[in-house]
């Protein structure tokens, strides 16, 4: 009976609840500091950056594609935003908020433009998402390195980091509020608007979507633009936290964001996925990284663990599909 219950839970919810429980138990045993309010709030804050990117990645995955350029969108946003902010700050030292607002807008626009190019290539010129976003990843990373010469960008107003990186309201860090806002927005988008339904439809069966009068190329385009927008927000928040603009902050993001989605049960073939599970998937990865830090596991080995977890999640998903096929009543 117990086995049947576990099987049932597995089929219904996927592998994620099991992974979360196992991770909580293991890290609690490994480190006494793990299961404290302070640390868990910390985990939540650290996870927000990935959570935003994973939500964007999810939009691309739902349409049956993916976005490998999220890492460089993060980098370009960070570098361009920081450069703009620093130079505006230098020109108008008395108007810090002008510099901050201008820098945010310019950085966001830079990140978004990569999404626009991705979307145009994929939706209009039928380039495969793999080649298009891989190509743009190279372009974006190159630009970020070229602009900075590989050196971190300093000189942003203090207010930026203080407000968006370190501030706490009622004991909860600012990035969590912002991320929560975006989770709600994307939830509403996916479940309560036509655009959301059309994203699922394009990934579910693009021809059926066309016959149903949906402008599929417009939807595909929007998926990549929205993905870039969420990623750019994440890039700005991360820049505020680091107080520098850096070209190599997003290197692990493509893998981790896809991992968060897949662990959360988003289908790589498109058309299937729930936002709540993606949010939990990102939280889980944050939890594992935090736990491994507390347990003093070498940071190089940590990337090994993340890769293995991703593959295990895919294997588990296949097993789940087989179980579902056997259970079709």
């Amino acid at each position: 009976m117990n086995v049947a219950w576990i099987k049932h839970t597995f089929v219904r919810l996927g592998v994620l609840p099991f992974l979360l429980v196992i991770a909580l138990i293991v890290f609690t045993l490994l480190s006494g500091n793990f299961l404290t309010v302070n640390n868990l709030v910390n985990v939540a804050r650290q996870s927000t950056y990935l959570m935003l990117v994973a939500m964007g990645q999810m939009l691309a995955l739902l349409t049956g594609g993916f976005d490998l350029s999220v890492g460089t969108i993060l980098a370009v946003t960070s570098v361009v935003g920081a450069l703009a902010m620093a130079s505006l700050n230098g020109a108008f030292p008395d108007m810090a908020w002008l510099a901050i607002t201008g820098g945010i807008l310019i950085g966001f626009g830079a990140g978004l433009s990569i999404g626009i190019i991705n979307g145009a290539g994929i939706a209009l010129f039928n380039v495969s998402p793999f080649m298009m976003t891989l190509g743009m990843a190279s372009v974006g990373f190159g630009i970020a390195l070229f602009l900075t010469g590989g050196i971190p960008v300093y000189g942003m107003p203090d207010g930026f980091g203080a407000t968006f990186g370190f501030a706490r309201y009622f004991g909860i860090p600012a990035p969590i509020y912002l991320t929560a806002l975006f989770v709600v927005l994307i939830y509403v988008l996916l479940n309560w608007t036509r655009l959301g339904r059309y994203l699922y439809a394009v990934g579910g069966n693009i021809k059926a979507a066309q016959l149903s009068g949906i402008k599929t190329s417009w939807i595909l385009f929007l998926a990549y633009v929205l993905c870039a927008a969420l990623t750019a927000v994440s890039g700005l928040l991360l820049t505020a936290r680091l107080e520098t603009g850096e070209a190599n902050i997003g290197a692990a993001m493509p893998l981790e964001s896809i991992a968060a989605c897949v662990i959360g049960g988003v289908s790589l073939r498109g058309g299937v996925g729930r936002l709540s599970n993606v949010v939990l998937g990102a939280l889980f990865i944050g939890l594992v990284q935090n736990g491994m830090n507390l347990a003093r596991i070498d940071s190089y080995l940590q990337t090994v663990v993340i890769g293995i977890l991703l593959i295990l999640a895919v294997v588990a998903d296949q097993a789940r599909l087989r179980l579902i096929a056997e259970m079709r009543d």
């Binding site: 036509r194 699922y200 021809k207 066309q210 949906i214």
Partner: protein
């Protein structure tokens, strides 16, 4: 006795697909499996062809107990199946596909010359006109089906299994296939044949086994049993009439094409018209351009010259969305590739073309309560079974998937419906239900354009028929002229007849 199944059951967790089925096959007979979608026919042949293992019961080949662990093992025992789902690799050529898995080699290298020689001989024997070096992806559905059949005839099988092989074949190709089956019978091959078509049961069946809900209902001599009896056995109830009586009341002109020619050349110089309150058919062979013509009206094919008029408006080259908004709806023939999102539920599928309608969404947000209420009513109307709006459609039978396709068309205000092969691969019960919907729509004043390769469908449902041959209109028939022999006479080359 060539092959026997004794008390065979197959259980999937939570469901018994087959229970205690006895089945036997004699050498040199065509044994037809008959039953509604989901009756267990496919499960039965997947056991015999080695694709699945029985939960209990015994299988006997020429009296000896056999266990078939895989399709490969079954092949070695001489059991070959032609499945509905093509087992061809689209990127490989025809001859590479024919010998896939049993390539002829010289040493450790492929003997391509020998493979070619044998392929030529095989296709000559079958007289299938398929170019051997063409990639399968570029073949038509009918040609792919022929390659699939040729694969089964490549070795000398002792049992051949066909799962609705004629679904995409033309009359002539079907004749050819039946001749081959006749030859195989003479060579003492046992043949298991699944079909939904009564005519085929009559033409080639020796015995018929009827399945219903995973149980064997009866095995009968094909010669000694009437159509009505068969349908009654299959459905468990009496269906007095598959085709409904329809009252036509032609009204305003809805759709008109003027000398329509497509860029692809699939249809040339087509002029036809559809009025309110009538069903107009387009008949013709597979590839005659009948589907292309309808798709062009809905904005799915490029038009090189001519015009499409809908409700007195020139809509030549409009997009599907624009046509939907004007009240035209196209129901495509292929549920899998064009019709449905199989991993989503009935609710989302039914609502998809209509989400822009006020009862489904406001300016900004979806009206999910309205959506659920409307889709629930539609799913009840088409009698979706099992009734669950959020169960993934891939778990439903073909007949129920087709009902969802119909429900999609009913969800918005439509003036002209185009049904493209609306009953392909659907059992008799569902078929009768779908004809019922088409009648109701027509009598309520909608115009209907029915494209079908199923001649009885055309003969019984339409008020007027256009017959197409190789991309051109051959004839327009009306009323008493819509007879089997008359329509068929326009299907083929005139000079040859």
């Amino acid at each position: 006795m060539l092959f026997e199944l004794k008390k065979v059951s197959k259980r999937f967790p939570g469901v018994e697909a087959l229970s205690d089925v006895d089945f036997d096959l004699r050498a040199g007979e065509v044994h037809v499996l008959f039953g509604e979608n989901g009756a267990g026919k496919s499960t039965l042949i997947s056991l015999i062809s080695g694709a699945e293992k029985a939960t209990s019961g015994g299988m006997f080949l020429r009296g000896d107990s056999v266990e078939l662990g895989s399709v490969h093992e079954a092949r070695q025992q001489g059991i070959n199946a032609v499945f509905q789902e093509f087992s061809l690799v689209p990127q490989l050529t025809v001859e590479e596909n024919l010998f896939l898995g049993s390539e002829v080699t010289k040493g450790s290298f492929l003997d391509k010359a020998e493979i070619h020689r044998r392929s030529v001989r095989l296709l000559e024997k079958l007289s299938f006109p398929i170019p051997l070096s063409k990639r399968v992806a570029y073949l038509s559905r009918a040609e792919q089906q022929m390659v699939e059949i040729a694969k089964a005839f490549r070795t000398e099988p002792s049992i051949l299994i066909f799962d609705e092989p004629t679904a995409s074949l033309t009359e002539r190709e079907t004749d050819r296939l039946f001749a081959l089956i006749g030859q195989a019978k003479k060579a003492c091959v046992g043949i298991i044949y699944i079909t939904h078509r009564m005519g085929e049961v009559r033409r080639i069946g020796d015995r018929i086994t009827v399945l219903r809900d995973g149980r064997k209902i009866a095995t009968l001599d094909a010669a000694a049993c009437s159509d009505e009896r068969l349908i009654e056995l299959m459905t468990g109830r009496k269906i007095t009439q598959v085709f409904p009586r329809i009252k036509f009341n032609p009204g305003a002109l809805f759709l008109e094409t003027r000398h329509l020619t497509l860029s692809s050349g699939a249809a040339r110089g087509i002029s036809l018209s559809v009025r309110a309150g009538e069903i107009v058919g387009i008949a013709g062979l597979v590839g005659s351009g009948k589907s292309d013509t309808a798709r062009a009206c809905f904005g799915l094919e490029k038009i090189s010259s001519g015009a499409v008029l809908f409700l007195d408006e020139d809509v030549t080259g409009f997009s599907p969305r624009a046509m939907l908004d004007r009240g035209m709806f196209y129901v495509p023939p292929d549920r899998r590739s064009e019709g449905l999102m199989l991993m989503r539920g009935a609710r989302e599928n039914i609502a998809l073309p209509s989400l822009s309608q006020p009862c489904f969404s406001g300016n900004l947000f979806l009206n999910r309560r309205g959506e659920t209420a409307i889709t629930r009513r539609l799913a009840e109307r088409v009698d979706l079974r099992p009734f669950n709006l959020d169960r993934e459609l891939l778990h439903y039978s073909g007949g129920n998937q087709q009902k969802v396709m119909i429900a999609k068309a009913l969800a918005r205000d439509v003036k002209l419906f185009i049904f493209d092969e609306p009953t392909i691969g659907v059992d008799v019960g569902t078929r009768a239900a779908i004809y019922g919907f088409i009648r109701d729509l027509c009598e309520a004043g909608a115009g209907i354009l029915l494209i079908s390769s199923d001649l009885p469908e055309i003969l019984h449902l339409t008020a007027r028929v256009y017959v197409m041959y190789r991309g051109e209109l051959r004839a327009e028939l009306e009323g008493g002229d819509i007879r089997h022999d008359v329509v068929l006479s326009y299907f083929f080359e005139r000079d040859a007849a």
